[in-house]
């Protein structure tokens, strides 16, 4: 790590003002991405502003939904009674998302902002990485790429957004609350992220100094069923090769509402409106699940290392739909 100054803040405005005044400063929350990338030499802020003691921790519920303070840890959110009782998709995504130690450190805001696991991005000795050095190219495209994305990517960048939680949250229409020097704003999570597109270095709509203060999950219909399925090589402690977050509202055998998030395959946490369109109003069946899955991976862009994900992602979604719908085959 290059030298930096450490500053601890106790107020949200204090934090935001410090960052706004210093283009070389970064926030430090759980540290599991920030410090890792600083050790790798990818990030080199001259000032770290420790926000872990800001009053942004805890979960509350009202008519608008579940409000999650941005500094709530993954472990705390997984243990929340509402999450544990009513939102299995969130709880499973959290518990499958990291080790217990990391869950005790990583915050919800930080989780949403985690950076790509791409080893070409994370190694400054690799000269060509559009995410790190815009315009320099993409080394991952012509090399090994098993852990990379197939949706929202191009030859400019195939880095994966590896968060499990964010996949569940995009499926739940979660909204993030942001606070900056010019005040607060709310952004639906589906509009918070940007596809790799022409500027893979810009991953979201956050401005410098802007702070995520919380996330709101709107209420679900009482009869909604949810679930998260994660497919990976190891039985635990690994990023997804493919994952699916599913929310279904069933009326008898008919799918009245469907929401689908996909992980392990997108440059951002992937919401598949295409799959939802196929599912909504249809009778639950293996056939319709497969049709929805095929719709979800339309437009996939692959390299030899990621080609298998087109099939795997579909099978993962089909299985998740079957599980959440109560076993329709």
């Amino acid at each position: 790590m290059l030298p930096f100054e450490y500053a601890r803040v106790t107020g949200v405005d204090e934090a935001v003002n410090l960052l706004a005044a210093d283009p070389s400063a970064s926030y430090l929350a759980g540290g599991t991405t920030q410090l890792d990338l600083m050790k790798d030499g990818v990030l080199g802020p001259e000032r770290l502003v420790d926000i872990t003691r800001l009053p942004l921790r805890g979960v509350t519920r009202d008519a608008d939904g579940l409000h999650i303070g941005a500094l709530t840890t993954m472990e705390e959110l997984a243990a929340d009674p509402v999450v544990a009782g009513e939102l299995p998709v969130v709880r499973e995504a959290l518990l499958l998302g990291a080790s217990a130690q990391l869950r005790n450190m990583a915050t919800i805001g930080g989780n949403l902002l985690q950076r790509a696991r791409c080893r070409y991005f994370r190694d400054p000795t690799v000269p060509d990485c559009n995410k790190r050095e815009p315009g320099s190219g993409c080394a991952a495209v012509r090399n090994t790429a098993r852990m990379h994305a197939i949706l929202g990517v191009s030859e400019r960048c195939i880095a994966l957004h590896a968060s499990d939680l964010a996949v569940a949250l995009v499926a739940l229409d979660a909204v993030v609350r942001l606070h900056g020097t010019s005040g607060s704003r709310s952004v639906p999570l589906t509009q918070f992220y940007r596809e790799a597109g022409t500027s893979p270095d810009v991953e979201n709509v956050l401005l410098h100094g802007e702070l995520i203060t919380g996330v709101t999950i709107p209420p679900l219909p009482a009869e909604a069923a949810t679930g998260y399925l994660k497919v990976r090589d190891r039985a635990s402690y690994e990023f997804a090769l493919a994952s699916a977050a599913v929310v279904l509202v069933m009326r008898d055998d008919v799918i009245a509402q469907a929401r689908v998030g996909l992980g392990g395959i997108g440059s951002k946490p992937w919401r598949s409106l295409e799959a939802e369109q196929v599912l909504t109003g249809a009778a639950a069946s293996g056939e319709i699940f497969r049709e929805a899955a095929a719709a979800a991976v339309q437009g996939a862009w692959t390299v030899p290392g990621t080609a298998f994900k087109v099939e795997l992602a579909q099978r993962t979604l089909v299985r998740a739909l079957r599980n959440v719908s109560g076993g329709a085959r």
Binding site: D123, N143, R232, R234, A235, E238, F308, L312
Partner: protein
Amino acid sequence: MSTVESRDVRGSRDAAPVIGTGMDRVDGARKTAGAAGYPSDVQLPGQTHAALVQSTVAAGRIRTLETAAAEASPGVLTVMTHRNAPRLPDGPMTALGASPPAPLRDDRILHHGQHIALVVAETPEQAAAAARLVRVTYDTSDPVLGLDDPRAERMDNPWGMDADRGDPAEAVRTAEAKVSGTWTTPDNTNNPLGLFATVAVWERDALTVHDSTQWPTMGRVTLAKVFDVPESAVRVLAPYVGGAFGAGLRVWPHVILAALAARVLRRPVKLVLTRAQMFTSVGHRPSTVQHLTVASTGTGELVALDHRCTSGVAMEDDDFEPCAATSALAYACPNVITRDVQLRLNIPDPTSMRAPAVGQGNFALESALDELAHSLSTDPLELRLRNYAAEHPGNGLPWSSNALRECYEAGAERFGWSRRDPEPRSMRDGDELVGYGMAGVSYPWYAQPCKARATVNSDGSAFVRSAATDIGTGTYTVMTQVSADTLGIPPGRVRFDLGDSDMPQSPQAGGSGLTGALATAVRDACRGVLGRILDLVRDDSESPLRGCTIGDVTVGGGRMHLRGRPAEGESYADILARHGQVEVTADGASTPADAAELGMAPAGAFGAKFVEVRVDADLGVIRVPRVVSAIDGGQILNEKTARSQIIGGTVGGIGQALFEETVTDAGTGRIANATFGDYLVPVNADVTQMDVLFVGDPDRATPLGTKGVGEIGLVGIAAAVANAVHHATGTRVRSLPVTLDQLL
């Protein structure tokens, strides 16, 4: 010395023998308290910290090298490069081959990750930050990276182990059944949890090095030659090593750099490798391409075996990986040809990784046999039994021990092999396809000379030592047991020390050869002490033991007595006190068994592995819920630690089978997955039921009847998993690791 004799001096009614029992590890309390001192834990007064700068290209020359910014960085004491470092000679030839080339010789780059500078600073943070400020440009040339690159220099029969028996070509031509194919294994990285660390300090012309090594004796010899000082002026210390699995068998360039920097700065230097550097600096299991043909009669008697293996080696280094050669010794087969070839590549030095060569070669051989059994509609277990080698297939001598048949039978029984429906894809549990697979293992015998020293103190306690290492194998504990039983002193009164090159010389912890060599030397030293104690009382009229030889006495409870007459004896403490001795010390030694002299082929361990896999029929996800390992390890010195060795090897085998692959970028030679997040090793959730059975009798070629078990646990798991995956799914996977994308 015979096995019978060894029983005579141990055991008595007041102290049950501890050899063979599952005694808790003697270093357990220290390890669980965090009090065991590994090389990375060493802190010396005035210590400085070093960080490596490594090449970012795989081949070429350094064009420019700017160190000014690093030198000006806060806390930096020196930046060593090939421009300012003294030229050092290469290390000597060792029992395992040549030493790695000396570091910072010139401006040539032979692999990505080659050390090109060492930055030393007051703190580790300062050194690491300054290392990133060294600016290097290269004149890059096109690296030779692939086993399919025609430019690669080829070395045929590099170890002189190629085997030729009978006429395999003719036997294959006329055989009733045959399987022929190509199997591949990837680079794997040892990746012990302990980051390799070196702390070097010079006092006048004497060098002390705390190092993550499996072989302090070799470390001393090597450093003495490299720095041109007497061996007596070098001390290598490794009382605890955070795992190694072969990575600690050499004095690597970074060790020499740390010692060199300490000499230049006249201050202690500490160098701890990063996890990424663990992939390029301390060896790896090299990838292989293996062409194999097995041919048999219509009833499965092998008639021919043709195994040809190509693996990679660094441009200017050695590695011992005769992957094909060991296949010649696995089964009774009249016509055999094995060929091993090495290609020189621009890759980091490969080195032994747990079960070197055998781990790769067995995958191809035992996979091919499974295919042969399937093509013959023969049970794969039955096929192995039919081709059991009753004599050593190479020299025709009887084995010093061989319970491979019992391994097959006991393992199959415990596993429930008879419940296997031979039809692939026939066993199912919900969404999961269930598969059973198995493999056999004949592990090569290996032994080296070894020494030890034993002391009985005036208080009746014992102190025994040797320059061996305990890399987690249990050496501290089993040697305490051997000492305790031989001396008749309770294990709690025995201290066994190791990991210090000032102690009597020992071979490496490796090749499954240490326990046999060291236990014999320890026993010899302890018996030497008993002889000297009897010498003390030879003419002692007060001693009931006067005039006795070692054959006349029994030991136990810290004393010696006449055999069969427990009352007629006395304690060591009494004898030493009466004769004014503070201690009695003797040296012991062992030499490898000689097959010709014995009239037997000394045997390594044998094993049979049975694996259940479950494969999700849609998703391809593979899990291994159950493994049974039946092992002939001869006399097991400690049931608990030996079982842990087998389980640990099995976990390594699951890693090899399903997860582990060191990926190198084409073109640049950079390792693409040099983290624990990207290079997957098994986690706790991947390992469920592990059954270990020990079968067989004490081996006749070693005095204590032992055979090493450090490596056999790994071997056969990869093939058994792949065979089980075929049984579950009907899909043959001939390249490791077996991953879900191959099953979609």
